[in-house]
């Protein structure tokens, strides 16, 4: 056993160098979050003077007070909740029964449907035809349009279907003996047994809904319908170049930067709350999602 040079000098140096480099990477990942958080609770004057680099300076909650008293912020936040939970519910409602039906090997036409779904992974009509289709369906500027228009995706269907296919036959047969209908079978046997896959798909939906901005920006016109990310985009990206707006926000207590940072933090917090829970499932989901046709 002595010949195992587990901790030779070179290995120790290697271990330390590795730890240091990795720590640097981790810190550079973390730093932007810390910076934004620090800016959001610093005074506008300190930020404008370039005095905030890591820790907050002249701590104040003025930016948050400003943001939280903005009616538009609350409307956008509420809309994001509607789209996130409405959209995720709709996704599961459509995809779980569909994926279950496709997981039954005896189903006639199964191959046709499987190929039709997998094909959308490789080819899609693109931005303009999708937009014009939404227009033809009367789903422009509609909350329902946002919820239904993005409800399913081939990737998630395949993930669910693969999981349902792996459920052992014996469970199914026992339930069939009791004369269960397909819906009962799905509800009482397959859904409980496939919880990890369903939670994974639900989390995929939640995160993509929470973070999605592009189609909401394109499809929604009414101010009262926009989600948080579109609101953020307007404030951060569109108005940033607008000096008049930026300077209108500049008071002794808060500035354009502290206000935008406060909005960013407010929109990240829910993600941080579900993140520890989500991480476990996401890593699993990524690996079991390895798309098969």
């Amino acid at each position: 056993m002595k010949s195992f040079n587990l901790y030779s000098r070179g290995d120790k140096i290697f271990g330390w160098a590795n730890a240091i480099l990795l720590s640097l990477f981790v810190l550079s990942t973390l730093y932007p979050f810390i910076y934004v958080a620090a800016v959001s609770i610093s005074s506008g004057a300190a930020v404008t003077a370039g005095r905030v680099t890591l820790w907050p300076v002249d701590v104040t909650l003025a930016a948050y007070e400003h943001v939280l008293s903005d009616r538009m912020f609350w409307i956008a936040y509420g809309n994001t909740f509607i789209y996130t939970f409405g959209g995720t519910f709709m996704s599961l409602l459509i995809m779980i029964p569909g994926a279950y039906a496709l997981s039954r090997k005896r189903l006639r036409g199964r191959t046709f449907f499987n190929i039709a779904i997998a094909f959308t992974l490789w080819f899609h009509a693109g931005m303009i035809p999708f937009f014009l289709n939404m227009r033809d369906l009367g789903l422009l500027d509609s909350r329902f349009g946002i919820i239904i228009g993005f409800a399913a995706s081939a990737f998630n269907v395949i993930l669910l279907r693969n999981f349902f296919e792996a459920v052992p036959k014996s469970f199914e047969e026992a339930a069939k003996m009791d004369g269960a209908s397909e819906l009962q079978l799905l509800w009482k046997v397959f859904i409980p047994l496939s919880k990890p896959a369903i939670v994974t798909v639900a989390l995929f939906c939640i995160v993509s809904r929470w973070n999605g901005y592009f189609w909401a920006m394109v499809l929604l016109r009414g101010e009262e319908k926009i989600p948080l990310q579109v609101y953020l985009k307007r404030v951060i990206v569109d108005l940033n170049s607008n000096d008049e707006f930026a300077s209108s926000l500049l008071t002794a207590h808060y500035s354009f930067e502290t206000v935008t940072s406060a909005i960013m933090i407010a929109s990240i917090i829910p993600v941080l709350i579900i993140y520890p829970y989500a991480q476990k499932y996401f890593t699993k989901g990524i690996l079991l999602g390895g798309v098969k046709e």
């Binding site: 932007p32 959308t120 973070n211 990206v237 890593t283």
Partner: protein, 309 residues
Amino acid sequence: MKQTYQQRLHDLWGDVRRDWQLYLLLAPMAIWFALFLYKPMYGLVIAFQDFSIFRGIEKSPWVGFANFVELFQNDMFVRAFWNTITISGLGLIFAFPVPIILALMFNEVQNEVGRRWAQTIVYLPHFISVVIVAGIVINFLSPSIGIVNLFLKGIGLEPIYFLTQPEWFRPVFIGSSVWKESGFESIVYLAAIAGVSPTLYESARVDGASRWQMMWRITLPCILPTIVIMLIIRIGNLVEVGFEYIILLYRPSTYESADVVSTFIYRTGLQGTQYDLATAAGLFNAVIAFVLVYSANRISRRVSSTSLW
């Protein structure tokens, strides 16, 4: 034993009747795919029309490939196409190796708790919206108060207007994409590393190999098939760049290096209303994407069936 056409029809009808419940469960999803993914494919025909939204598809005149001809003569489109390839190519060179290196580094950390914390942190940016990432980038690079320019001023340099200068767009875009995604992408490689047989390391240790040598001679070769597959997938997606993120970061002064096909489509089709031209651009891109992804898939299937993975 040849079945007649009628018999087969009869059997089919029998099966459909037996499984009516399953078809009922399938129906909403089938309708959804037809309505939201397949119906728009019919809309692609406007790429071959002089389309007007008032006349609609039925009444718009056909023009053959005129839109494509116009497209290839349009300097802006040609530029957008090359920008797409260039940005993807640069991503392949500079962003692709990062998650591999990260995974190798994670694997060498022996403190289990520290490793889990580090992983938790580097996966996090993946879950943050591109709007926030763009907001952070804009903040960081602001000429007046941005941290990067404060630093440059601190060491006596002139501030750089990163976001208005075309030569800075690509480094900023790729750099921030690495920040956002490379941690999360390392998961795939970590899974591959987890599958490496421990006996390989044990026998190497008996032979007196250093950790550095084991990393190069055991870990890396063992995850090579995964690397090859990820590389092929990446090449398959060569014409897809993160346009939702580009839209947030680019501005007219950086279009020359930042404008890609998807952002071109967005501007001509959705901000402007040249639906036919934009659809032609989209179709062109989608066909190339399809060919690339399809070939990539074929190749990766061969690679993965002949390799250990």
